[in-house]
Symmetry: C2
Subunit: 423 residues, 2 copies
């Protein structure tokens, strides 16, 4: 089945807004094996829209249109859809009533403009939008089924998942239930993960399983997409796959699905009624800002100290500057973490020190990273070297520091070789 | 003149990579009044590419194609371009030689695959790529002139500016020299800036001037696009416009062109051989990380302290916690900055304290922000209130803190009402 995505709106066409709706929709569909073969962008222009609808109607079996369902005069999707489908616009009474209630609940009167949002092509199938005033609809133009979705990202996402994807799966004759399971890891590169998990699809006889990866350094996302006849079938298929990924990626898995590394650390600290302080050098607040922005940070996050020079960092946690003996070592990292922990009365302290290479930024620019973690009754330390330019080292060091903290808190080995390190 | 952008590649089509090349190209062209009326995305697929070229050739006067010029078998742009243009591929001897030299300079032998990159349609006009192995070219298909550009962003950007845009301006009959002048400001909203600068185009009789805005909170970018017969003509036109923007946006201008707020602070500190320490609460390292990542940070940035609670922050800079007397006020911010400055022996210290509203995040969630700056011989303070949810307040507070520091360092009034504040 050939699927197209057609995005409308001057903001997108002129590049003022980066088209993240497109990449979200295309990824979501590709993940499910519903492959997108064409993307079109046009502005709020009647002629261009009509031509785009007609050309897509000749090429594709299904077209998802995004945007142009708003209340203003430059929102043209319903009107041009009706013209392309060769029918009139008619008032959808039920949606008009829903909109009036929507405004009433917010103690406002519906502006007359919004009535336009309840005008749908006469042949359209109504598609619900439980969280906004732009309802969706489906209509057939030429040989293709067109699905119209709102431009507001959270409304589009909900409608895509709950309304459009089931219709596309049905239209394509694919099994209807599906699940996307995600694992976030750090330390295993995409090609090694691919190697480690090779053949995983064969665990489920009869198919309906797809493995995929998305690298966003320093993390790797491993995706399992499972389709089945119903939710029970999907769950039955997913179980052995999940088990295998957990076994093979092991301690490198930071978090699953919508969870994050910070969230896992946050929860581990909350569980033991703990608290955290951090000391960092070249990561320049990158560690503190990830932890201090967590919802529980008010309780958990005690103190963050940032300095570019080790002497300055030592002083900031109350240690003597020590003259020339200021080497960046794992022991120094522990010393800094211990002093900070005592000063700030945190249950745990993390110190991430970096000894950077000399000279300007370049692709083989690197740094030696020393990590020290001090908790109420144990200490962890780690040393490694990362290469790949300033930004690469900065991001890698912050991730490594937090990952070591996660491992320390969860009782996992802090020292486990990662693919990025050189030693 | 109708211009289209046609992006190729499976990574873009499937959404794995967000299409920032599209938004860059479209913005750049729109800024110059070369408006883009259609965007297409197709994968590395011969049939889809050929159809996309043919359909674009019927709609447009000029088409910029991005991607598909690499050395591997799935890079199909030259081949399909030749087919659509109805001619053969021929070897471009000069480019082959340039590529061989390119590899030689890097002490490598050119892999045989790369020869493919020197195969161009027989009727093509060669377009130089001084920084990569994918040369560009132009060819006429149907009624449109097609320009082929590499997918690597920095190569595409250079080729667009230096090679494609002058050709498009010539094709459209527009004057050939142009300049994009940018001002970054904080504190003036887009609609007020529009009001303040209304009619600025009229300062230049004969036209060729366009004013534009791009808001990326908390900053606003004001763009002047000037076209003329040659560089001298452009400079002559630009001078009174620049002067008017500087006069009307005044102290709200943070930086111009590629400079940033951090850079301006960095340079002002370097100029006086100064140094900086920062103390922050809810901005959670957002201020430290912006300053500590500057190129001169090794010398300039002394110490950053982050805490979510005022008591903790006071202690971290060596102040007594003070029991219940810990109100967040501008005086407290100055007290914290003064203590931090002394402790870290920095020439300047910035303290940004935030008293957040109670309860969960919501659109009318706000915070009271107190800023204190202590330098060698003067003190500045500022208090305000921002509303708009956690992230809005966090970003606004970090920007306001740095902007007050800029104003302090440059001798400008630190207290000047901004459009975002409520008081």
């Amino acid at each position: 089945m050939l699927i197209e995505i057609l995005c409308t709106g001057d903001e997108i066409l002129t590049g003022k807004t980066v088209n993240t709706n497109y990449s979200y929709m295309a990824t979501r569909l590709s993940d499910l094996g519903l492959s997108v073969h064409w993307g079109t962008t046009v502005g709020d222009d009647r002629d261009a829209l009509l031509l785009a609808f007609r050309q897509a109607a000749e090429r594709a079996d299904a077209v998802i249109v995004n945007g142009g369902l708003g209340p203003t005069v430059d929102d043209l999707s319903q009107e041009v859809a009706a013209e392309a489908a060769g029918c009139e616009l008619v008032l959808h009474e039920e949606w008009l009533k829903r909109m009036e209630e929507f405004f009433l609940k917010r103690a406002r009167t519906m502006p007359p403009n919004n009535r336009k949002q309840a005008m749908l092509p006469a042949t359209a199938e109504f598609i619900d939008n439980p969280i906004g005033t732009a309802c969706g609809f489906a209509v057939t133009i030429g040989k293709a089924r067109f699905f119209f979705t709102p431009g507001v990202p959270r409304e589009m996402r909900k409608m895509l998942d709950e309304q459009i994807i089931p219709r596309l799966l049905a239209q394509s004759g694919m099994r209807n239930a599906f699940r996307l399971k995600r694992f976030h890891s750090f330390g295993v590169g995409e090609s090694r993960a691919d190697e480690i998990l090779k053949g995983i699809e064969d665990l489920v006889p009869g198919g309906g399983v797809k493995l995929g990866f998305q690298a966003h350094y320093p993390e790797l996302e491993t995706k399992l997409i499972v389709r089945g006849t119903d939710d029970a079938d999907v769950a039955r298929k997913l179980a052995p796959l999940e088990a295998k990924v957990r076994r093979n990626l092991g301690n490198f898995i930071l978090a699953e699905d919508d969870a994050t590394l910070e969230k896992v650390i946050n929860d581990a600290l909350v569980a033991r009624d703990g608290s955290l302080s951090t000391a960092e050098m070249f990561t320049s607040g990158g560690i503190a800002s990830r932890m201090a922005s967590m919802p529980d940070a008010e309780r958990l996050f005690r103190r963050g100290v940032v300095a570019r020079a080790l002497g300055e960092l030592r002083e900031a946690v109350g240690l003597p500057v020590n003259g020339g003996a200021n080497a960046i070592t794992p022991d120094t990292a522990v010393e800094v973490a211990r002093a900070l922990r005592e000063r700030s009365r945190a249950s745990h302290a993390l110190g991430v020190l970096i000894d950077l290479d000399e000279g300007t930024d370049r692709v083989d620019f690197g740094g030696t990273i020393c990590i020290g973690i001090v908790g109420p009754d144990s200490v962890s330390l780690r040393q490694t070297r990362l290469i790949g330019g300033h930004e690469w080292v900065r991001l890698g060091a912050a991730e490594l520091g937090l990952d070591c903290l996660r491992r320390h808190l969860l009782g996992l080995p802090v020292e486990e070789r990662i693919d990025f390190e050189k030693r």
